[in-house]
Symmetry: none
C-alpha cells in the first residue's frame, strides 16, 4: 500500500503524448502500452479524448475487458461548450460513454484564453467548469480537473485564475491539476504559485508541465516540493512541441533522489524496458542520451572515466543503472550482462540456470544479433523462439525451398504483386502462388496458402501492425532495416522482429517467427488440456 505522503503518477502518453509530431498509435498499440504502464505501476492512465476521434473510443471499449492491477483508466475532454446545457453537450456525453472510473476535464484559467480563444465571458467560463465537474460527479465519476494555462493565467490575473479552481473545487473535483501548458515557466515561479494555491485550497493538487524551456522535469519536481501530490507526464516526454514532462525521468528522481516510493524497487526496474517498448510501438527512434533509460545513460567513453568506473562505479555514475533496468556500457569493449538475459528469460517464464552452457549460448547469440541490429523489446515472441533455438528445443514447422516476389508497374497504373513459394512439411512439398496488395502481402498469402493444408489454425492469425526502422540512416536506401510485426489471434497479441538490408527478407524473418510462435503456443495449449 502506498502511504499518504506518496505521489500519484498520472500518465498521458496515450493522449497528450499522441499529439507529438510523428507519433500516432493504433488502438492495439494503445492497449499494449496501457497494459505495460499498469505493470510499471502507474496510477492513472489517460487513454484518449473519446469525443475527438473514434479510434480513442475503440480503445476505451477494448480496455474494459482487460484486467488492470494498478491503474485506473481516464477519459479526457473539455468542459461543456459555452451556452450549451451540460447534459446535451456532445463532448460530455461521449466522456460518459467511455465508461471509465475517472474523467479528466480541462477548463480555461486564463482571461486571455477566455476572451481570445473561447470568445465567451469570464462568468460563463466559470459556469462551464462548475456545471461539467458537478455533472460528471453526479454520474459517479472521479473527476480530475486540469486547469489549462494555469500559471500563465495566474500571472495575468491571479484572482480570476483562482476563481476557476474554486469553481472546480466547489463542484466536487477530486484533483485540481495546475498546468504549465506552454511549458515556459521557471521552477521557482511554479513553486511560488503552487504554494500560494496550496495555502488556499483543500483539494489535492496535481502538476502538469511541458518542456518548452527544457525544464519540464524540474518544474514537475518543484510542483511536488510545493505540495502537489499528482504528477502528470508521458513516457519519454512525448507531447506537442518539445513534449510533456518526462515521466521516465521524473519517476526515478522521485524514488531515488527524493525518496518518494511512488513505485516499488521491483517496478522501477521495468522503467528502461517500458521506455523502449513505447518508442518501439510509436516507431520513434529512442533518445540514446535520455536520463536513466537511454542507451548512453551509463555509457563511458573517456579512457579516464572507464578506468575510474572500473575502480569504483560511483566515481562516474550517479545511481546504479540496474535500479532502473538499465546497464553500464563501456564503449570501447561492449559488455553484455548475463543477468540481463536471465532477467529477460525469467520475464518470459523461462527458467535459466546462471552458469550453464545454455545461458552462455543464449548470451552469445543475443550479442551477435544485437550487434546486427535486432532488438527484442517489442518482439518478445522472437526472443522466446531464440531461446528455444539456443536450448535446442526448437523444431522447425516447415522448411523453405525458396520464394520469389515480383512487383510490376506500367505507366501510372496500379502495380501488381505476385509471390511464389516452395516449401516442405514432413517430407511433403507445397508450391503455391499468390497475388497481393503489395509484396509482403503476396508473400504472406503464399506462405499461408502453402501451410494451411498442414496447419489450419494459421487462418486465425492476423497481422496487426507492421513497422520498419532504418538502422543506419547514412547508408540511404541500402541501409539495414528492422521490421517489427505485431500479430494477433483471438486470444493474444505478439511481436516478432526481422533485420536485413532487404525489407522483404526482414519481413520474411518476422513472418516466420510469427507463424512459429503461433504454432508453438497452440501446441503447448493442446498439451495443457
Amino acid at each position: 500500500m502506498k502511504n499518504k505522503r506518496n505521489i500519484i503518477l498520472y500518465d498521458t502518453t496515450l493522449r497528450d503524448g499522441a499529439q507529438a509530431e510523428g507519433v500516432s498509435f493504433s488502438w492495439a498499440d494503445k492497449i499494449r502500452i496501457a497494459l505495460q504502464l499498469d505493470r510499471l505501476g502507474i496510477d492513472y492512465i489517460e487513454g484518449g479524448w473519446p469525443g475527438s476521434n473514434p479510434k480513442d473510443m475503440a480503445f476505451f471499449t477494448k480496455i474494459r475487458k482487460k484486467k488492470l492491477t494498478n491503474a485506473k483508466i481516464v477519459a479526457f475532454g473539455s468542459t461543456r461548450r459555452a451556452g450549451k446545457k451540460v447534459r446535451n453537450d456532445r463532448n460530455v456525453i461521449t466522456l460518459l460513454k467511455a465508461q471509465t472510473p475517472a474523467i479528466a476535464v480541462f477548463g480555461k484559467s486564463s482571461t486571455l484564453h477566455v476572451k481570445d480563444i473561447l470568445r465567451t465571458s469570464p462568468g460563463e467560463n466559470l459556469r462551464m467548469i462548475s456545471d461539467t465537474v458537478a455533472y460528471l460527479k453526479s454520474r459517479g465519476r472521479e473527476v480530475i480537473y486540469d486547469a489549462e494555462h494555469f500559471f500563465d493565467g495566474y500571472k495575468e490575473d491571479s484572482s480570476y485564475a483562482l476563481k476557476t479552481l474554486r469553481a472546480a473545487e466547489e463542484a466536487g473535483a477530486d484533483y485540481l491539476v495546475l498546468c504549465d501548458t506552454n511549458g515556459g515557466s521557471l521552477p521557482e515561479e511554479i513553486m511560488a504559485v503552487t504554494e500560494a494555491v496550496r495555502a488556499k485550497f483543500n483539494t489535492a493538487l496535481g502538476i502538469h508541465a511541458h518542456n518548452d524551456g527544457g525544464l519540464g522535469v524540474a518544474v514537475s519536481l518543484a510542483g511536488v516540493r510545493a505540495g502537489a501530490i499528482m504528477v502528470q507526464g508521458t513516457i519519454n516526454g512525448y507531447g506537442e512541441r518539445c513534449g510533456n514532462a518526462n515521466l521516465s525521468t521524473i519517476i526515478p528522481n522521485l524514488v531515488l533522489k527524493m525518496n518518494i516510493p511512488c513505485l516499488s524497487r521491483r517496478q522501477l526496474k521495468l522503467l528502461e524496458e517500458t521506455s523502449r517498448f513505447v518508442d518501439e510501438l510509436a516507431n520513434i527512434r529512442p533518445n540514446f542520451r535520455a536520463p536513466f533509460v537511454g542507451r548512453s545513460a551509463f555509457a563511458h567513453k573517456g579512457g579516464m572515466h572507464v578506468n575510474a568506473v572500473q575502480k569504483n562505479p560511483k566515481s562516474f555514475e550517479h545511481i546504479d543503472p540496474a535500479l532502473v533496468g538499465n546497464r553500464r556500457r563501456i564503449l570501447v569493449s561492449e559488455l553484455a550482462g548475463k543477468s540481463n538475459v536471465m532477467l529477460k528469460a525469467i520475464e518470459f517464464g523461462i527458467n535459466l540456470e546462471k552458469e550453464t552452457p545454455e545461458t552462455r549460448k543464449i548470451l552469445r547469440e543475443l550479442k551477435r544479433l544485437g550487434s546486427e541490429g535486432y532488438e527484442f523489446e517489442g518482439a518478445d515472441a522472437s526472443f522466446q523462439i531464440l531461446i528455444q533455438k539456443a536450448l535446442g528445443k526448437h523444431k522447425a514447422f516447415f522448411e523453405l525451398e525458396g520464394f520469389r516476389v515480383i512487383v510490376e508497374k506500367r505507366k501510372n497504373g496500379r502495380p501488381v504483386s505476385e509471390a511464389t513459394i516452395k516449401l516442405k512439411v514432413d517430407g511433403s512439398k507445397e508450391h503455391s502462388a499468390a497475388e497481393g496488395e503489395g509484396p509482403v502481402h503476396a508473400l504472406d498469402k503464399a506462405l499461408r496458402k502453402a501451410l494451411r493444408p498442414f496447419y489450419p489454425q494459421i487462418a486465425k492469425v492476423h497481422l496487426a501492425d507492421y513497422k520498419v526502422r532504418v538502422l543506419d540512416a547514412s547508408a540511404g536506401t541500402a541501409a539495414k532495416v528492422r521490421v517489427l510485426i505485431e500479430s494477433r489471434d483471438d486470444d493474444d497479441i505478439w511481436g516478432t522482429v526481422g533485420v536485413s538490408e532487404n525489407i522483404i527478407e526482414a519481413s520474411w524473418q518476422a513472418l516466420v517467427d510469427s507463424v512459429d510462435y503461433k504454432l508453438l503456443k497452440d501446441r503447448k495449449k493442446r498439451r495443457r488440456r
Copy 2:
C-alpha cells in the same frame, strides 16, 4: 560592454562535448565550430585537452591564426600528477604549449576520488591543486579552476571539499567552477551548496552541470540564482552519458526568462542556426523536440491548438520563435482545417487567398488524400508539390513507362533484389536496371541511373530516413502503408510521403516526390541567381 551582473558563457562542446557517444570532430570541424561560437557571442571556448591527443594540439595551433571577436580560447587539463614537480609535469607543459590566454585545470574535490581513483593523500591533492594553479598564473595565464565532483565531494566531506577550493583561490585562480560531474544532484542541493560557497569565497564562481537526472539546465540556472557568474555547457547538450548542461537551452532561459543579457538580441537569433550547424558537423541527427531550437519546438498539430495559435500565437507559444532564429510550423494532418492549409502555404511562400477556387481545390485534394492515409506533417516537400499540382503549375520532370522489381530467395540464402525501369525525359527514352540490397534500394538505384544523364544533380540527394506505417491494422498484410522518406542534399532536408497497399508503390511515390522537389528547388535557385 557587458555589465557586472552579467553571466559569462563558457562552452565546452569541443572538449567535454566530444566525449559524447557517436561524436567525433576533426580539427577542421573544431575550427569551424569555434568560429561559429564566437559569432554567437560565447565568452570562453574550451578547445580540447592538448595533453591527451595530437588532434587537440592541432586545433590550438590553427585557431591562433583566426581573429575572434568575442571569445577567449581555453586549453583544458588536469593538475600535476601526484609526487611530480609541476614544471616537469608533461600535462602542464603541453597546457602551456597550447598558448591560449586562459587555461582550465580540474582537480579532485572528493575524498572518494582522492583515495580510490588518484590513490594519493588528501594533503598531496591540495598541493597538486595549489602548485598547478600558481605555476600557470606565474606564466601569465588566466586560470579557471574546475572543482570536479564538487557537489558529491561536499556531501561526503564538506570541510575537505572547501579546502580544495581554498587551495585554488589562494594560488590565484580567477574562477572556481563547481562541477556536478555525475549529473545526479537536484537543483535545490546545488543552490544550497553554491550559496554556502559564495558566502565563504571572494573568487568568481562558475557552475558546470551534467544531465544524468534530466536536470542539467535547471541545475545551471539554480547555480546562477545562487551567485555563480559563469555557466559551462555544450551546444545541444553533447557530452558523456546523458550529456552536459545544454547551452542551447540555458542561453535563451537566461536572456528571455531571467532577463540576463548574456547575448544581444541579434546574437540570440543565431542560436537555432548554431545548434543545427554543430549537429551537422558532428553528424548527429538533430533532436526535433529540443527546446527553443528544435524543428518541433514551435510545431502545432492538434486542430484546436492550430486554431488558437492563429487567433493569438501567445496561446500556445511561450516565446516568439523568431527570437532564437526558429519558426512556427503548422503540421498538416488529416484533421486540418482551412486555416492549417492557409498557414502552411504562407510558410512555403505561396500566397493563397482565403476563398478562391484554388484554396478550395487544395483543401478538397488534401481531404481526399487525408482520407486515403496521406499525412503531410513530416512531408513538407510532398505538400508543396501537391499545391503546385492543384494550382496547375506542376510540370513533370520525367514520364514513367514502367518498372519491375524482383526479390528472390533460395533456401536460407541471401535474397537477391533487382529492379528495371523504363522512362522518358523530353522524348528520350531510358531503360536501366540495378541490383540493390533490397527492392526499394534497387528501384532507387535504377531510377537515379535512368535520370542521371538528364539531371546530374540527383547524385547529391541522399535518403536520410525511411519510415513505414501500416494504416489499417485490421487489414493485415493487405493494409495500406504510408512511407515517409527524408532526403538530404548539401543544403536542405525534406520529407516526402507515399501511400499504397503496396510498399514498393508507396516508396515509389515518395521517391518521385523527393526527386521532383530537388529539381524544382534547384530550378528556383538558378532563377534567383
